[in-house]
């Protein structure tokens, strides 16, 4: 090992120790927990079993996974469309104004997640701001049921994770050479074709990064479905929460957690591989 290698190892040591103590070991413990039985009165009976993982395939629980994926997927799709458009607008603004616009886009992050979610309750509940606004406009009928719907959960997720998409898409958009779009127009492409064939492919990795972020954070979320879904829409996060804190079935909770972590890791790995592949292809031909 040479000196610079030794130095970089030394520099990484605290971070590695931190990750090992607070990530790897707890995850290992949870994984191990999944292979034990639940005690009759709660607690854990230390005998090996695969039952907990088999139970994941039960239509009831598999269904909750699918619902979670659907809600997270819808939220991701909406966040990507809105976030990309916002990032595009920021990148097209005059250079000196862009930092301020970005700051405004991530401003919600400076307040607490719970408070931001409660704000939506204030907006959406039956006598909330939206209903009052409708009344002011002369609406007389029943107040709309907005809160405690799947839509409310999706709105909450989109709102909370939108800044990730904006940041992830802004990076490649702001680096795009404007002459590329001009060259495309010059060669006969319409504005739409230019977007589809030049701008979009060159910023796709930003979209992918933002989308994976939103999806991974949404599918495991339990606060938003609990508060805005009113417990009517169970997502995996709520299920895990219930296993650990109300049903007292830690081994099954552990198996659920592992399944969720596996999904997240799988997606993050795919995304990292896609990003690496783009960079790798370029290197390969140069070397060969």
């Amino acid at each position: 090992m040479n000196a610079s290698n030794a130095r970089s190892t030394a520099l990484m040591a605290p971070a590695l120790a931190w990750l090992t103590a607070l990530m790897v070991i707890p995850c290992g413990l949870i994984l191990a927990l999944g292979f034990f039985r639940r005690g009759i009165y709660g607690g854990i009976e230390y005998s090996f079993t695969l039952e907990n993982f088999a139970l994941l395939l039960d239509p009831l629980y598999a269904g909750i996974f699918l619902t979670s994926a659907r809600i997270a997927g819808t939220a991701t799709l909406i966040a990507v469309v809105i976030g990309y458009a916002a990032a595009y607008a920021i990148a097209a603004a005059p250079r000196h104004r862009q930092p301020l616009l970005l700051f405004l886009a991530v401003l919600p992050f400076w307040s607490n997640y719970l408070i931001r979610t409660y704000a939506w309750i204030v907006l959406l509940n039956r006598e909330g701001l939206i209903t009052q606004f409708l009344r002011m406009m002369g609406y007389e009928g029943e107040p709309p049921s907005l809160l405690y719907t799947e839509g409310a959960v999706i709105v909450g997720l989109v709102y909370n994770y939108l800044p990730f998409v904006i940041l992830a898409c802004y990076a490649p958009l702001s680096r795009l050479n404007p002459e590329l779009a001009e060259a495309s127009r010059d060669l006969g492409a319409s504005a739409f074709t230019t977007f589809r064939r030049v701008i979009l492919p060159m910023t796709l990795h930003g979209i992918a990064a933002g989308a994976v972020f939103v999806f991974v954070l949404s599918i495991g979320n339990f606060i938003t479905p609990a508060l805005l879904g009113g417990g009517r829409f169970q997502m995996i996060g709520n299920l895990i929460y219930a296993q650990f804190l109300t049903a007292n079935d830690w081994p099954f909770g552990a198996a659920l957690s592992m399944a969720l972590i596996a999904i997240m890791l799988g997606l993050l790995t795919l995304q990292a591989m896609a990003a690496e592949k783009g960079a790798g292809e370029r290197r390969e031909v140069l070397d060969g």
Binding site: S184, R185, L187, M202, R282, V285
Partner: protein
């Protein structure tokens, strides 16, 4: 010859900078036209107005007699080769070149043939599958050129098309451009820093300075009869002699060594000599100008009367070969 493009009193400002200043110019059908000027003289800005990326604040631009001020870039029969090339990094060489033809919705077979042909001409066939970041600067330049050429536009605008090429490839491409132009019948406007290139390639040359047009003419006219001291200095090598508030300009090849008869003669000492191909260039210090006069001798003349550095020589020329500027 008919006029293809007519630029009439065009002005373009960026804030306080006037990039192009009341410029008028007619470009003829099938002409090979060179725009020459120092950095920042407005060459790129003029091309960008012709391509449709900038709108002039004043004046009109007419193509085939129709004002094209409000025609978007993708609907103009005009193509621009960008100074920075602007190749699509996520497409192969082939993909870049085919892009413009795909926009015309040509049949696939025709696209393949035309792309193949142009890659042959620009010596890119070996690199068809590479991406732009796997190419050298000169190769990228050729891709940009091929991508614009393959469209066979009415008017092709080239912003420093040969800047990154080495001398040999550059000379080959100069001839190739001329040949292509004859073959395809496209009108070319070429921006160049290199006055020699402009002299070799162009049918006519325009010299720009600070956004204004200084002179337009054939290479012969601008070389032999520069309209101003700036133009004289810009094109070719020129000796300037100050006398009584005026500037006398004379080309190095018009000065003779030990002349039998001459309107003017002067003595000087040879401070340097250098071969430029077949010609010999002498630097001769005289009292007439602060810098030595440059004298260009043919190999024949140099052999007849050999001179060495440090020799004292007599130079002579005729008044008819000089130009006088009062600026």
């Amino acid at each position: 010859m008919t006029t293809l493009l007519s630029i009439d009193g065009v002005t373009k400002r960026f804030g306080r900078v006037t990039a192009v200043d009341r410029l008028s110019l007619d470009i003829r059908e099938n002409e090979f036209f060179a725009l020459l000027g120092a950095s920042g003289s407005g060459k790129t800005t003029l091309l960008r107005m012709l391509a449709g990326f900038e709108t002039p604040e004043e004046g009109a631009i007419c193509l085939d007699g129709a004002d094209i001020a409000h025609v978007p870039p993708n609907r103009r029969p005009v193509n621009l080769m960008f100074q920075s090339y602007a190749l699509f990094p996520h497409m192969t060489v082939e993909g870049n070149i085919a892009y413009g033809l795909e926009m015309e919705r040509l049949p696939r077979a025709e696209i393949a043939t035309r792309v193949g042909e142009i890659m042959e001409i620009t010596e890119l066939s070996q690199m068809a599958r590479r991406k732009p970041d796997q190419l050298s600067g000169g190769q990228r330049q050729r891709v940009a050129l091929a991508r614009a050429l393959v469209k066979r536009p009415r008017l092709l605008l080239l912003d420093e098309p040969l800047g990154a090429l080495d001398k040999k490839l550059r000379a080959a491409m100069q001839l190739e451009l001329k040949r292509l132009q004859d073959e395809v019948g496209i009108t070319f406007i070429v921006v160049t820093h290199d006055q020699e290139e402009a002299l070799v390639m162009a049918d006519r040359i325009a010299i720009l300075k600070d956004g204004r047009l200084l002179q337009v003419g054939t290479p012969h006219e601008v070389y032999e009869a520069p309209a101003s001291r700036y133009a004289a200095d810009f094109i070719g090598v020129m000796n300037f002699i100050n006398s009584a508030g005026r500037t006398i300009a004379i080309r190095p090849e018009r000065i003779r060594l030990f002349p039998d008869t001459a309107d003017r003669t002067v003595e000087g000492r040879v401070t340097a000599r250098a071969y430029h191909g077949l010609d010999l260039m002498l630097h001769v210090a005289t009292g007439l100008s602060p810098t030595p006069l440059v004298v260009r001798l043919t190999a024949e003349a140099a052999d007849r009367r050999p001179v060495a550095q440090g020799d004292t020589v007599t130079l002579g020329w005729n008044d008819a070969d000089t130009r006088t500027f009062t600026d």
